[in-house]
Amino acid sequence: MTPQRKRRGSTLAMWALGLCALALLLILLDSGRLAALHAEALRQGQARAMSDQLTDPALFTEARFARHASQADRHAAFQDHPMALEHFPAGSLMPPPDATALMPPP
């Protein structure tokens, strides 16, 4: 009478590894579809940028310089906020103070 056959550890390991690899492979393969979906949005963005002659993305819009990178001198500090520390790199590591806290009480 042979006892109930228990699954080998290596079987478990190979299955786990195989599944993980498969999952990654599948989403990588899906990237083509995503890119195609994105193409239209990209085209519209490009059209807008060209028509208005824009020179940089609208990220970090609170920065005085960043909305138009033409303003960014190499020596200028990276300012992220009107109230941010005008010092590199501390200015980007420390959050700007809460403006409401600095306002005088009503």
């Binding site: 080998r8 550890g9 290596s10 478990l12 390991a13 190979m14 786990a16 590894l17 993980c20 690899a21 999952a23 990654l24 989403i27 990588l28 990237s31 995503l34 890119a35 994105h38 193409a39 239209e40 949005a41 990209l42 519209q44 963005g45 490009q46 059209a47 807008r48 940028a49 060209m50 028509s51 208005d52 002659q53 824009l54 020179t55 940089d56 993305p57 609208a58 990220l59 970090f60 819009t61 609170e62 920065a63 005085r64 960043a66 909305r67 138009h68 990178a69 033409s70 303003q71 960014a72 990276f78 992220d80 906020h81 009107p82 790199p89 980007s92 590591l93 959050p95 700007p96 403006a99």
Partner: protein
């Protein structure tokens, strides 16, 4: 049905059996290690994937930005330039087109945000009308038909009728944009009719850009000429720097983690030494013991890498990176909503793989190395 038996493969499977059983004996600890490692890979990969995709996107969007931008400097600071500068550069050879640009920033205390006002040459809005970006609409709570009221340069209120909100697809470039009529722009900012913010030049031949830039400098002493490439590089530098800070931060965690794993493992317990001795006494040679340990480290880190990377990919490209937007949005009032397109970069995957898997495997094998080479006779002695 049975395929030819390979002794080497069979022995490796046997070693893996032991490795898994070994991992299973301290299930809680090893699970914790696996989760921590997966989290680390997830964060690292997310930062890299997000940063790279964003950079790629920006580059693509702005591929047709003007080749040269001419600005006036007064006492080292950007100043408005006279319209006659336009005439001076228009005639230059190599300059296909030249236009004066009118744009500026306005800080709206109500929304605590910076808006970019632009008076375009191409299809400008009617006087009194404004076309706004989607993020601006969201932040101010206004929509088409509403009135956007801002204080002009002289403190007097200025009312704009919102005639359009830009398409969501272009948010990455238009989120904070306000397109206005040129006359309105000048009235709002108090800019004289014969002044422009800067000039945008398009150069037909990309190889002539530098030469044209030199000619412009000759014609317009005191001007600053910026090439598209320079703008791109500056922005990328800002990108790289931010990404670099995050990566350095995460890498130090990775290093700390590796050191911790090493430290925990480097003192082989008496029990572990005994077991290695038993294995050797039973007929496992040094190579077998080390290979078994290698499998142990490799399986855990390989799985952690695969899972972490997959999750990072899902996080950035399917879920729109909520972790990062939460952080970035914290400092930004007008944050654009946008999707990023994935691109497979094998070099990037390989680098991440080596940075995460190798240290872990090394940390698993190294402490065992010495014990594995010892004679098994220690097992015989109590």
């Amino acid at each position: 049905m049975s395929f030819p038996h390979n002794a080497w493969l069979e022995s490796q499977r046997g070693l893996i059996d032991f490795s898994i059983a070994n991992l299973g004996r301290r299930r809680g600890r090893n699970l914790g290690l696996f989760l921590a490692y997966t989290l680390l890979v997830f964060l690292l990969a997310s930062v890299v994937l997000y940063g790279d995709a964003l950079r790629r996107e920006a580059r693509l969007l702005l591929a047709d930005a003007p080749e040269l931008v001419v600005q006036r400097l007064t006492a080292g600071r950007h100043d408005l330039l006279p319209a006659e500068w336009l005439d001076r550069v228009r005639g230059l050879r190599g300059v296909r087109a030249a236009e004066g640009r009118l744009w500026g920033y306005h800080y709206d205390p109500a929304a605590q945000a910076n808006y970019t006002l632009l008076a375009p040459n191409d299809a400008p809005p009617a006087p009194g009308q404004v076309e706004i970006g989607a993020a601006l609409a969201r932040a101010s709570g206004l929509d088409v038909g509403d009135v956007l009221s801002l204080r002009g340069f002289d403190g007097k209120p200025f009312a704009f009728n919102i005639s359009r909100v830009f398409e969501a697809e272009s948010e990455l470039v238009s989120a904070d944009l306000m397109r206005v009529n040129a006359a309105d722009f000048r009235a709002f900012f108090g800019v004289e009719p014969d002044l422009y913010t800067d000039l945008a030049l398009s150069v037909a031949n990309p190889r002539e850009v530098r030469k044209v830039a030199e000619k412009v400098l000759d014609r317009l002493p005191g001007a600053r000429v910026i090439a598209r490439e320079e703008m791109r590089r500056t922005y990328e530098a800002a990108f790289n720097w931010r990404q670099g800070v995050l990566l350095t931060f995460l890498s130090t965690i990775l290093l700390a983690f590796a050191l911790l794993a090493w430290d925990k493992a480097s003192g082989l317990s008496a029990e572990e030494r005994r077991e290695i001795g038993i294995l050797k006494a039973l007929g496992w040679d040094t190579g077998d013991v080390l290979r078994m340990k290698l499998w142990e480290g490799a399986l855990v880190s390989l799985c952690a890498f695969l899972v972490g990377y997959t999750l990072a990919w899902l996080h950035v490209f399917y879920a729109d990176a909520p972790l990062f937007t939460a952080v970035l949005k914290g400092w930004s009032v007008l944050y654009p909503q946008f999707r990023l397109a994935p691109q497979i970069d094998l070099a990037q995957i390989a680098t991440l793989f080596f940075l995460t898997v190798l240290p872990y495997v090394a940390a698993t094998i190294a402490p065992v190395w010495r014990a594995a080479t010892l004679d098994p006779d220690e097992v015989m002695r109590e």
